[in-house]
């Protein structure tokens, strides 16, 4: 068995690698045949994972739904912070749109950033618990959706003009160059590690879930500050939606943290 086959066999589980490599050694297969054997096994293992419901929930629920709304949320928090900091540095005053005070904006951005970290951790945890061997795929898709979907949405809606076109922007956004994303990635990785290796105590899982619920209620309530401001600013042309409808996008981000007590990995 040469180095190439040895490297390929590292994609297998450690226990499985032991007997698969032993079989290849005993059969004295040539490199192409041995590599094909391992690749076939890997493909079958991946396909078998998708016969369960867990990876599908991770793919559609976390990578798709949560990733999509988290993408917008990251942009919103980063945008609010950027405008506030830049206005203060350029003009020495606070940016107060539609009667929302600087203190309210700081409170909203700080709560949103903390919630974002919690949601990213919980998304990683749920991805690891549900995905099994498909984790590499669901996790990569989650990251791509979080990074790209808001850009695609805004570009298609005509809300942003990209100087070099959509594709270069999408490729560039894959790199975690923004401070908020650079903080979110460790949270996601910690969540993945917790989901794969350890079990959460029931009290911890309920505490996390309660924090998730608090984040939903607080952020939905805080959005009414902006709603009232916009209503006043537009002469009541813009009316903020009811609490339940405003809570839906936040719930889409927070459902992984709310569902932690239902996971098997809690004791």
């Amino acid at each position: 068995m040469n180095r190439f086959v040895g490297a390929l066999s590292r994609l297998l589980d450690p226990a499985e690698r032991e007997y698969v490599c032993g079989d290849l050694e005993e059969l004295q297969l040539r490199t192409p045949a041995a590599a094909l054997g391992i690749l076939g096994l890997l493909v079958r293992r991946q396909l078998a994972v998708w016969l369960n419901w867990g990876p599908w929930v991770a793919l559609l629920g976390v990578a798709g739904l949560t990733g999509f709304f988290l993408s917008g949320w990251v942009g919103q928090i980063a945008g609010t912070t950027f405008v506030q900091v830049r206005t203060f540095l350029s003009y020495g005053v606070a940016y107060e749109p539609g009667g929302v005070s600087a203190l309210q904006q700081i409170t909203y951005a700080a709560t949103g950033a903390i919630a974002l970290l919690l949601w990213c951790w919980a998304s990683g945890f749920i991805l690891a618990v549900l995905s099994g061997r498909a984790l590499w795929m669901t996790c990569a898709l989650f990251y791509i959706v979080v990074r790209e979907s808001s850009t695609i949405r805004m570009a298609l809606a005509g809300n942003i003009i990209l100087k070099h076109g959509l594709w270069p922007a999408l490729v560039l956004r894959l790199f975690p160059l923004e401070p908020l994303i650079a903080v979110c990635i460790p949270a996601l990785l910690l969540g993945l590690r917790s989901g794969r290796r350890s079990k959460l105590k029931q009290s911890t899982s309920f505490a996390l879930s309660a924090a998730g619920l608090a984040s939903v209620l607080l952020l939905t309530w805080m959005q009414s500050w902006y709603g009232a401001g916009f209503a006043q600013w537009s002469g009541d042309l813009y009316a903020p939606g009811p609490f339940f409808y405003r809570a839906l996008p936040v719930l889409a981000c927070a459902w992984p943290v709310l569902s932690i007590p239902l996971c098997e990995k809690t004791t």
């Binding site: 068995m1 226990a15 499985e16 032991e18 007997y19 698969v20 490599c21 032993g22 079989d23 050694e25 005993e26 054997g37 391992i38 076939g40 096994l41 890997l42 493909v43 079958r44 293992r45 078998a48």
Partner: protein, 84 residues
């Protein structure tokens, strides 16, 4: 095991097909596998040992009897590699 299967069926049996089938049988409780001792001809690596369980033996017997029952009176003829 793979060589035996290939000899009996006359068809190639891939490593992936064999291992995933063994996993399914183990999940159903029909076989039990364990790691054997490492041997020099395997490069110092262990072998996966397979043992049929009582439930597996029962299921195999039932399956064999069902096939035998369904085959009573059937004529099996092999011509030029085709089973008719």
């Amino acid at each position: 095991m793979r060589q035996d299967l290939e000899a009996v069926t006359g068809r190639q049996c891939s490593m992936g097909a064999l291992y995933t089938t063994l996993d399914r049988l183990e999940e159903k409780g029909l076989i039990k596998t364990s790691m054997g001792a490492p041997t020099p001809e395997r490069g110092g690596r262990a072998k996966r040992m397979v043992r049929i369980t009582a439930k597996g033996a029962r299921e195999a017997r039932t399956f064999y009897q069902a096939v035998m029952k369904a085959s009573i009176g059937a004529i099996w003829q092999t011509m030029q590699g085709l089973t008719l």
